[in-house]
Amino acid sequence: MADGRQAAAQRPWVFAAFALPSLGWLLAFFLVPLGIIWLYSVGENVSLTRVETTWTLLNYARILEPEILDLALRSIRIAGLATLVCLVIGFPMALVIATASPAAKPWLLLAIMLPFWTNLLIRTYALLNILGTRGRLNEALGWVHGHLHGAFELVGLGQLGLLEERFTPFTFLGTETGVVIGIVYVSLPFAILPLYSVLERMDKSLLEASLDLGAGQLTTFRRVLLPLALPGVVSATIITFIPALGQFLTPDLLGRGQVDMIANVIERQFKGANDWPYGAAISMVLLYATFLLLALRAFGDARRSAARNAR
């Protein structure tokens, strides 16, 4: 890092030449559009096609309506739950990949990336097929149920009523569970990769030392592995949580329009409702929240490295 800075100071032109394209990109495709959205968010519809910047705050005030807050809370709940599930499933998976043999590693990583080769919409429709009341999952569960039931009858346990006579299919679609499953499915690779990169770089001898010196498996996990992996956990949380908050396709399809999230409201403003200023205002509030999260993380990082330097 320090070397890089020195080199940049010595050869400013080289540095500029390398930085310019990405800065230009950032300006043209991030900052300028964002600025336009921000202007919309303080504007008013003056006709069906024209928005005038009037510096009004009414669009922001409308966000305080109870139903919008309800939807925001629901979005945070769903995104938070999906993030948690991603971490709980993703951590052991990342650990397995990080400790796998060098020959197996690329294949395991490839298996994680493979779903990206299919379009999100198609993957979501595939999930519809699996999770439906008459979907593959319920079909399989029904099959297991039927055989278990038959087996219980056979060994004389039928009277105990362990299983109901008929299998009642589970309802996943149109519920928060279904939406969480859908978000976990698309986000899991994003959660695994940062966890993997931290665990991969970790000095494994520290774990051995901990175990050798008498700490149990659980203590080693809690006191050694987890603290070392913390930066990865934070990255995985942010990279899962923020996009999950902005989902609208998953609530539409897997949620069947029954569990709308905040992004569904935004989408409507830019389509049928034709109210770009209001949609822009909600988008900006989401963005502010995102920045806040990132700022907290940067703050945490700074404190950690300060603590390290002090030692």
């Binding site: 139903e67 679609l173 329009g257 049928g272 034709n274």
Partner: protein, 360 residues
Amino acid sequence: MQRIRRPLHLLRTDRRRFMQAGLAVGLSLKLPAGALAQEGQVNFYNWDTYIGEDTLSSFTGETGIEVQYDLFADNNEMFAKLRSGNPGYDVIVPSNDYVERMILADMLLEIDHDKIPNIANIDPMFTDPAFDPGRRYSLPYMWGTIGIGYRKSAVDEPPTSWNDLFASDKYAGRIALMSEPTNVLQLAMKAAGHSLNDWSDENLAAAERMLLAQKKNITAFAPDNGQDLLLAGEVDLAMEWNGDILQVMEEDDDIGYVLPEEGGLLWEDCLSIPVGAPNIDNAHALINYLLGAQAGADIADFIYYATPNAASLELMDEAYTDNPAIFPPAAALEKSELAIFPGQEMLRKIDEAWTRVKAG
């Protein structure tokens, strides 16, 4: 408003023809943004798969005018693209309520009726609609309804009223409504006995209450896929565009379509010329061609939507003209209404009501 058009024909024809049709569309997709006026060119912006197989090439053969063909998936997309200025289209195909929006926003040019003799082919029923009196800005291309698609074996008798969907627990857990707020609330008003254009704060509030109370019985607010849910057996009744239901009827004999006795929502897709069109004369020529008897019949035969063209209708076979999902019974049709654009202010109230329904 969203509506995906897929030609029914594709379901009945072999794969090779489908590939050819796809290829033809793929090759003609490149309309340059800001296409300039050119001798003998017209830039046509239409719904996906919403034209006859060789309609455009026949037009070029007959007139020498090249067609640059570009596609949109729904009105929102088309409107958004033209909102900040016409990128070079000469002929577009907005639905009736969008025609109205675009007239209000000064986005459409007046059509010179003298240049379109085939206007004489249009059924008189379509010549003076409320959304464009005197047809100054739009001419009808295809029309249809929103009604109820249902699984015949799952109901004792076909549904007859919107109340079966909006105010009854007879079919609890087996109902799909559309995800388009305006259309759903319009038909909830219809169920309550009002005109679907009778937007007032009380009617809207009543429709909102109706939906909130019914929400527990509704399985899905389906974004464009009510017909798929019906086909998969996930629901037994679906509020849908007739064309979408017609499609799954082709695949499954057990599915039917009915326009409830209160009447449904009528829609009409129109040919219009947007402000800023570079080839106005050619636009008129194309519109005139599309309204021709044979061209109209070829299109209708391929995409299987109802044609407003009386001369074309005479050329069609009974499988088309007697299909109740294309041409519903006259009694229900008479009570059906074209939606009038409710205005931006009401649109906002509609969206807020919808958010409350969804959050509740």
